[in-house]
Symmetry: C2
Subunit: 242 residues, 2 copies
Amino acid sequence: MSTSLHHRAIENLGTRIITGELPTGHIMLAEHLEEELKVSRSVVREAVRVLQSLGLVETTKRVGIRVLPPSRWNPFDPQVIRWRLSSDARGAQLRSLIELRSAVEPAAAELAANNAPAQLRRELVDIAHALRDAGHTGDAQKFLELDIAFHSVLLSGSGNEMFANLMGQVAETLTGRTVHGLMPDHPHEGALQWHVDLAEAVAAGDAATARDASEQIMRRTTSRLSGTWTDQPRVFIPVRRN
Amino acid sequence: MSTSLHHRAIENLGTRIITGELPTGHIMLAEHLEEELKVSRSVVREAVRVLQSLGLVETTKRVGIRVLPPSRWNPFDPQVIRWRLSSDARGAQLRSLIELRSAVEPAAAELAANNAPAQLRRELVDIAHALRDAGHTGDAQKFLELDIAFHSVLLSGSGNEMFANLMGQVAETLTGRTVHGLMPDHPHEGALQWHVDLAEAVAAGDAATARDASEQIMRRTTSRLSGTWTDQPRVFIPVRRN
DNA sequence: TGACACCGATGTGTGCAGACATCAAAACTC
DNA sequence: GAGTTTTGATGTCTGCACACATCGGTGTCA
C-alpha cells in the first residue's frame, strides 16, 4: 500500500499504452476508467493529466481520452523508458540508449577532462582502479556497482546537466545486461584498462585521450550488445512541421 | 481563452520555480495556491501532479508542496527547457543543448547514412541545396525554416527516436539565435557547403564523410554561440546513489 | 429532389465546493 | 528518551454546474 492510487493508475495505464494493449487511437472515457481501476474521478483525472504531459494521451471534449502514437511519446522521460524496457520494445529501447550513450559519453569525457572539479577526477581514478580489481577477482555484483558509479561520475563531471541526467538510464542498461546474463564471467581485459586510461586522462586534463578511451569502451559495449536488437525494426519519426 | 486553467497553473508555477522566484526548499500549501491562483483545488492538484512528474516539486503529508533542487528537474522535458530558455539560465541551457547537439548530430548523420529510407535522403539533399540558395540570397526567414528542416530531417533519418525527439529543442536554439541577432546577414559559405556535403554523404551512404561534415557544422555553431554563455557557471549534478 | 448551411440536442471533459480518510510530523506523557 | 496522542496537511471521494466539440435534424436554395 505504499504506492498511492494516483501512482498505481499512472503505472497501469502507462504500461498498457506502451505495450500496445491500448493501441494508438484507442479512446477511453474517464467514467469508464473509474470503474475499471476502481478509483474516483479525481485519481483518474490527475493520472490522465500526467500521462498527457508525457505525450501518451490527449483529451478532447465530447470525444474522450485518446491514446497518441509512439512518435508523440517523450522518449527521454524516465517512466517512459522504464515502461519500454519492460515491454516487447525492450530491444529497440536498449539500442536507442546505447546509441545515445555512444554519442554522449565521449563528449562527456572531453568536457570532464576540461571542466570537472578536482574531487570528481580523483574519485573517477579511484573507481577505475577498483573496477579493474573487481574485474580480475570476478566479483560480478561489485563490478556492476563500480561500473555504474564510474559512468555516473563521468557524466556528472561533464558539468552538463543533460548528460548527468543520463546516469539513471545508464544504470538501467548496465543492470539489465548483467541480469540478462550478457556479461562474461571475467570482463574484457582491454575494457578494464580503457576505463583506467579514461580516468587518468580526465585527471590529467587530456581531453583527446579521454574521448578516445571512451569511444573504445562504447564501441565494445555496442558490439557486445548489438545481438539483443537485431530483429528490432527501426522507427522513423516523421518531422513535425507547423 | 484557449489555454485551460490547468495549463496556466502549470505555466505559472513552473516558470516561477525555474527562475528561482520559488527557491529550492520553498514550501507551498495547496490551499494557499488556490487563493493565489484563484482556482479550485482540483486545478491546483492536477498542476502539482504534473510538476511532480517533472521533478520540480514533491508533496509530503503534513508538510506541503516542496520545491526540489535543480538537480532533480528533468532536463530533457520540453517544458523545462522552454522555461529555462526564458530565464536567467538561458545561457547555460543553450550551452547544454549545443553540447548535446554536438554529440548527437554527428552520430545521427552516421546512422542516417546507414539506415535512412530513400525518401528522407532525397529530401535532405533538396533541403541542403535550397538552404545554400537561401543563404546566398540572404532571405533570413526562409534560411531559418530550411535550417530547422534540415536538422530535423537528419535527426529523424537516424531512426533513433531519442535523437529524433531533439528536433523541437534544435528548432528552439536555431530560432533563438536568429531572434537574438546572432546570425550574420550572409551565412558562412563553408557552413553552407558542409550542409550540402553532409546531405550528399547521407544520400550516398557514406557514414564517415557524413559524420565529418556534421562535426564541422557543430564546431562552427559552437564557436559562434559560445560567447553567449561565457559567464554562466557550470553546475555539477551530484551522483545519486541508492 | 438533392446539396448545403445552419442550429439545437447531446455527451464529455473542465472546473468547482465540500466532506471524510489517511498518515507523518510535532507535541505531549511517562 | 521512548512511546503515545494530537494535529494538520495531502489523499480520496462525490455531486453539481459549465463549456464546447460533435452529430443529426431542419430549413433553404439550386
